[in-house]
Symmetry: C2
Subunit: 195 residues, 2 copies
DNA sequence: CTTTAATTTGAACGGGCGTTCTAATTTTAT
DNA sequence: ATAAAATTAGAACGCCCGTTCAAATTAAAG
């Protein structure tokens, strides 16, 4: 019973799309609901018909973005066999798919004392996702004897912060031109953990 | 002639101090001039007596912060002799002195299309300072035969982004607890560039 | 065709923003 | 003591914010 009788879903998607772009370009605070309204062509009131408020809209977008990033990696991962290759593959995946500009808005939101605790919690949960993906690769490498035995948690943070730091460059440089940099970071990191 | 006859300098400094703290805690956009007024105890009007506007106040603080960071390093640098030691020293200097929270506000300001081009330019010039300091260490290491010959520019970016990425952790973790992490990053990096 | 429910608009609200301005006060110079 | 200059406060301005709401429009159901 009751298939969706109306289709305002396309409107909702269009709003989300434009909001994503604006949040990515200008950050969370500096993107106003009016901006999103103008960019999407739908009235402000309509935005509130679809989303409870600006904060929840942003969190939703961040969640979808991160989830998509993760799923995409899960699909790509089988292309690689050994853990070292996976780490190179991951670096490329991060370079081309990690939405640094949007997720920066999350820090903005999280650092605002007036943001709802629930939103902040949800954003922190997102930050954990990529770390989990890195850790899985390192664990595999150790278990299969490819990497030394070592402090996995620390290694995870080290490679995670490095890739995260490199991602900041995507604001100012062409993604393609950054490939060698990302690969060299992985190479250097691997040199110190490979057997 | 004409020594400064009045001394509102202390008021100015107090305003800058409070503004620094607020910008660090809440970011640029989310810190209002009223916030600064309340925190410092001086009226909004008085703030505009000392500073042209909020944007220039922030840029001034960012400049002072970075300049101080650099001078402090210049004073500390002679403690170390070989380039490797300098790199470890630099990592500690970054951990304990690089004002990540404030400088994050700079990204916010720079990504706002309505910010004055002059301010943006000034902020970009600031970002160059630490990179110069890293590069100097690498160059010394190469010249003195301690490091391999290699792509200095790339190495500079690699160590710069790594330390920058690690600095993000200062938001959520005790500085002391991060020391081993910073040191290990340097150790790993050195392993691949030392002769 | 009428009724009902879903969708969309646009005006309105209260509040806070960055900034300006005038006037009061304090300090210095004469 | 008086005039001039520097310092400070605080009200006021216009603007835009996030959000709400009532009304208009559109689509589906009977």
């Amino acid at each position: 019973m009751s298939k969706r009788r109306y289709n305002s879903e396309s409107a909702k998607l269009e709003i989300m799309e434009k909001a994503f772009l604006l949040f990515s370009q200008k950050g969370y605070t500096q993107t106003s609901v009016s901006d999103i309204s103008k960019a999407s062509g739908y009235s402000k009131g309509h935005i509130y018909y679809h989303f409870e408020n600006k904060e929840k809209l942003f969190v939703l977008l961040a969640q979808r973005t991160m989830k998509e990033w993760y799923l995409k990696w899960m699909n790509k991962e089988p292309e690689f066999t050994c853990a070292s290759d996976k780490l190179y593959g991951m670096a490329m995946h991060v370079l081309y798919n990690y939405q640094t500009p949007l997720l920066k808005g999350g820090q903005e939101l999280a650092s605002n004392p007036e943001s709802s605790p629930e939103s902040i919690k949800q954003l922190y949960e997102l930050a954990v996702i990529p770390m989990g993906a890195y850790r899985a690769i390192l664990v595999q490498g150790i278990e299969e004897g490819e990497f030394k035995k070592g402090n996995v948690e620390e290694w995870t943070v080290l490679i995670g912060t490095w890739l995260g730091g490199l991602c900041q460059l995507t604001n100012t440089q062409e993604l393609h031109s950054l490939e060698p940099l990302f690969k060299n970071a992985v190479r250097i990191f691997l040199e110190s953990i490979q057997k």
